[in-house]
Symmetry: C2
Subunit: 231 residues, 2 copies
DNA sequence: AATATTTTTTAGACAAGACTAAAAATGTTT
DNA sequence: AAACATTTTTAGTCTTGTCTAAAAAATATT
């Protein structure tokens, strides 16, 4: 008599930290494009070499989280998308936790969340979610995928695309580098504030806006990195 | 003209996850003995092979966190002790966090804390410490080292060493395996409860105690794993 | 003190993940 | 379509951390 043992491979997660980082990078890169994600794009995103990427995507293809045809780039499978989304979920929930509960500023959370996102415990992340009151967005305005990896996309435009007299609410940043976030802090620009476009300068694409009841001029680079929800 | 670059190796931590696990194991094993910690003891603690241990302790000796002489076992240096103590600090603070803030039971925290203890961010752990109100003990009654790695030892005895009519307070467990902790839960024995020894049985070293105003008989195995603070 | 046993170390191998350099495929020009 | 440029892959190497098997040292036993 022999007992059959069912291996529950999907118990929590079967991916190494490195594999998770690749999945997340491909997920982020693939979200915009309909085509496959190129080896070089992945290498650039992860600050690694194309040859290392080729090695890893072969491994991930064997694990059925992505489709790989030589020289054709890669595409995540449904399983791959879900796995990646759940890592993103963890990352963003930890960011909210750090800001809401531990007095981190929004420019300090990234590196720590980058580590915390790899902690394997579904109870842990669900309890964090509950502790925070099931937030739907992280401190940079990015949406938090639900427990199934689905995310509720919200309509948003870059500030730079608004026309004169249009108004909206500042709901996110495209560039979430510490330097940009610190710049916004200095200018007292924060998410949730109301914005109105007063003037646009053709010469350098700068624009004059009223934000938080203060009038100010922002460069195109700034306007290109602030997401606005149209009212 | 050449700029001199000072490398701040001590920034946060220069140890790999594996190195940290070895340091912690040696720290725990060395706390009791005055002699060095043997290769085999480390291998057993980490469920690895003696040959792997030899490799690693050579590397750690090169990094000046321990003293190693062939066939003589190892001893942590002051730097090694501090490094290890700070990992233990993180582990125990995370355990408190999980129990106090995330509804974990004391028998569920170990594996998750084992992962969380490797997160590198001094701000993170200090904020967790503050959020918890600077606790001095973890959920199993073990002391939490301070930011310098020092720990305040408290006088405690095993329940098994108490004599008839002696009383005390249950303040910790020696064995913190899930099965022992679940057993205590079932018996409604918890830290903080008052204990009085009513009877001791010479035959099997079991003892009858009054705990939490309930009379019960506990085996020697139990009494050997419960720490009592004498009143 | 000699032998047996246990512990520890060495030597060599392996897997994961990264790298360099060169080859192959694809894309772009003219 | 041929030549050039870019991207991607392959082949081989390296590091970290692990392992097995065998050798060496320390400890225990007779």
């Amino acid at each position: 008599m022999q007992k059959i043992i069912y291996l529950h491979y999907k118990f929590d997660s079967m991916f190494s930290q490195s594999e998770e980082n690749y999945l997340k990078a491909i997920y982020h890169l693939g979200i915009t494009s309909v085509n496959g994600v190129s080896t070089n794009a992945i290498a650039k995103k992860l600050s690694t070499k194309a040859s290392s990427v080729t090695d890893m995507i072969k491994k991930l293809a064997d694990k059925n989280v992505l489709i790989y045809k030589k020289y054709q780039g890669v595409k995540l499978t449904e399983e791959g998308k879900k796995t990646a989304a759940l890592i993103v979920r963890k990352h963003r929930l930890w960011e909210v936790f750090l800001v809401e509960k531990l007095n981190f500023n929004w420019d300090e959370v990234h590196d720590v969340a980058e580590q915390l996102e790899h902690i394997k415990s579904s109870k842990l992340i669900n309890e964090i979610d509950a502790l925070l009151g099931f937030p739907k967005f992280d401190p940079h305005g990015d949406p938090i995928p639900d427990t199934n990896g689905n995310l509720h996309l919200i309509e948003k435009k870059l500030l730079s695309t608004l026309h004169i007299n249009e108004t909206g609410i500042c709901i996110g940043v495209k560039d979430s580098s510490a330097s940009f976030l610190q710049f916004l802090d200095k200018q007292q620009i924060a998410l949730g504030q109301e914005v109105e476009v007063l003037e646009k300068e053709d010469f350098d694409d700068s624009m004059t806006i009223k934000i938080n009841d203060k009038k100010m001029t922002v460069s195109n680079k700034i306007a290109n990195n602030l997401y606005i929800q149209k009212q």
